[in-house]
Homo-oligomer: 399 residues x 2
């Protein structure tokens, strides 16, 4: 990893031709960024005790777009409410895409992001699916790094805490027609968060109710857009109230395929029908599953380890519960940015209570968790981590 | 129909006990309504030439709710943008439900609404599905009537025009957790609109592409919530650009059942396998179809006429196209608040172009259209129409 603040001639030439290219693409540009610093910095909360995503850092990034004028100038400014017209497309028709990633204060004192290019790329894909305009993902990443750099004091000092970053892209045209928004706003807010698991991994229970379907082939369950979330909220809330289950296990199809757990990707570690140890997660090709970045990283790590089979494939509740009865299911866990991984100790399914043993010290879940947080906090240096102050480096990433 | 502005003793007693009941339910109350009139009334646009839903009347209704304090006081105030926190649940997770109805300037000079109780009831159902708080639908209707009454000059004078009314209910809690919003805002904006068909009914073409699915069983396609709309926008837009089709014909299932047309309910008038004339529309029990109020009204009207069979049942593209080839399909039309009814003259399906003959003067579509607009403008007085100035009457509706 190198840090270089002086531009080489090569970099200058590269950047010039790149800027022309970006103008053509009509993306906003990091080099136009305007910064207005807050005059009233807020007190930092104790992220260990606050509710997830309820306190926000001093500054936000905001970039406006219109069909007429294209992308405006990116602005970093004090975090504040927007003026929103009541007819805005986002308020009326959920014209929205978003992302979630984290900035970590690493053991060497540097602040780093975990695979932020993946988030910026996914936001482009989601925006396209929902009819929002295109942009250059590297320009977004550069602006985003600058935002974190400015609010570096908001990246928690305490180990296992982090600064949660929420890029959000909304349609703002104030008209009631159900059509593409001719105006949009891309903004990024950040929020200091404690560890999901302050001490050890805490298992959760899932309700697998085939009456409620999160996503469908031909729908948009594989995109990170607001539409996929609100409809799940009262169902999850009922799962907790009625059955004491913290999350839903979302099923699909007549054979009750397992797809996702709450807002997390799902992993099952078992001994398969051929007697092989295998880690499986539902595949992306059905369109039922979000292409999670933690999901992708776990698959890549475990493939590198070459200790057991790693598969993206569907598994039905019947296959799963039969394997569980035969003692072939070793572990089930969810994976996502918020928790990293989260072990499952119970699944309620058609009046059956399927119990899973949890070994908090010597499990694959625990091992993956440790591996990932060692990478996040740079106890194990890894190319997945990007320094927020290393603006040059992200450009070379582009190819 | 009676108008009574003096309260009888009975009404006073009824209202007192009713108010206690409402407090218990924690609904807002019409009697608490506060009105602030604009000091800068806007010029009324020519609704015949403006884009649908792009101009708004001078006043809006706004009512805030919080888990802590319950419902606040309803306010009618100048139409204006909101202050929205960037982390609001509606911006992040599509915590939203809405409605669409119209106020008509009738031939006797009175301003009336078409079945507004149905909209207020449906908004309650949608709110429940999306985790937003309950309210008393009659109190909402009373506030809404007052809003229209105040902005009565915004109800267009020209025949076939109307004032489109958009009640919207959003979750506003500014936190990033995926859970029920502890804060919400119910607001109503209105917009003068011209007729969908300034001269005669104009037919539209539909693209029936089984790759895209609007709604599925166990999802929320039968609720009027923003989540159902944004995902359809780029698909509809592509249908127009690539195939010249104005709307999608949304299909479902392996047998390609016809479900909805764009944002409208779908009707097919045909001679069925038994040789009977029959009007069919896809059923509500599958959860794939919005329970439209125009849909319901058409079913009720046609049942009253007793001239042909009226059925809510599924129809597959195979059954439909075979019947079409045999000359048994007489008409296809969409139905909704914006257009009332809209004839279909072409369906593109798996590289087939299915053409439908349009008789603009002597069709069932035309007859239903005339019947409904005669009711809307009170050329045919009907109990479906509610006078906006008749506040007492709506209360007696409650039982």
């Amino acid at each position: 990893m190198f840090v270089c603040r002086q531009m080489s001639l090569y970099t200058q030439v590269f950047r010039q031709s790149r800027n022309q290219f970006i103008r053509h693409l009509s993306s906003f540009r990091y080099e136009d960024l305007q910064v207005t610093m807050t005059k009233t910095p807020a007190l930092k909360p104790d992220e260990k005790i606050i509710k997830f995503g309820s306190h926000f850092s001093d500054h936000m990034l905001e970039i406006n777009w219109s069909e007429e004028k294209g992308w405006g100038v990116p602005k970093i400014k004090p975090t504040t409410s927007f003026q929103m017209h009541p007819a805005s497309k986002v308020l009326q028709y959920a014209s929205q895409a978003f992302e979630g990633l984290k900035a970590y204060r690493c053991v060497d004192g540097q602040i780093r992001l975990f695979r932020p290019n993946e988030n910026c790329r996914r936001l482009k894909t989601s925006a396209q699916r929902i009819g929002l305009p295109d942009f250059d993902q590297i320009e977004l990443l550069r602006c985003l790094k600058k935002l974190i750099s400015i609010d570096h004091e908001w990246v928690p000092q305490s180990i296992n805490s982090s600064l949660y970053i929420r890029p959000t892209f909304i349609g703002t045209e104030p008209t009631l027609g159900v059509n593409n928004s001719s105006m949009a706003k891309l903004f990024v807010i950040t929020s200091p968060v404690g560890s999901y698991f302050p001490t050890a991994l805490e298992p959760l229970s899932l309700l697998a109710d085939p009456h409620y379907i999160r996503a469908w082939p031909g729908g948009c369950g594989s995109y990170k857009i607001s539409s996929n979330y609100a409809p799940t909220v009262p169902i999850q809330s009922q799962a907790l109230k009625k059955y004491g289950c913290q999350q839903m296990l979302w099923l699909f199809g007549d054979d009750h395929q397992m797809t996702e757990a709450g807002t997390m990707n799902l992993f099952i570690y078992w001994v398969n029908e051929q007697g092989e140890k295998e880690l499986i997660t539902p595949p992306l090709n059905s369109g039922l599953v979000l292409p999670g970045i933690t999901r992708k990283s776990i698959l890549e790590l475990c493939l590198e380890w070459k200790e057991f089979k790693v598969s993206e494939k569907s598994i039905s509740m019947k296959t799963f519960s039969e394997a569980l009865k035969l003692g072939r299911v070793k572990e089930v866990f969810g994976a996502g940015t918020a928790c990293v991984v989260c072990p499952v100790n119970k699944i309620l399914y058609l009046d059956q209570e399927l119990s899973l043993k949890i070994d908090t010290h010597n499990s694959l879940t625990q091992r993956i968790y440790k591996e990932l947080i060692d990478i996040h906090y740079y106890r194990k240096p890894h190319h997945w981590m990007e320094d927020v102050d290393d603006e040059e480096e992200s450009i070379t990433d582009r190819g």
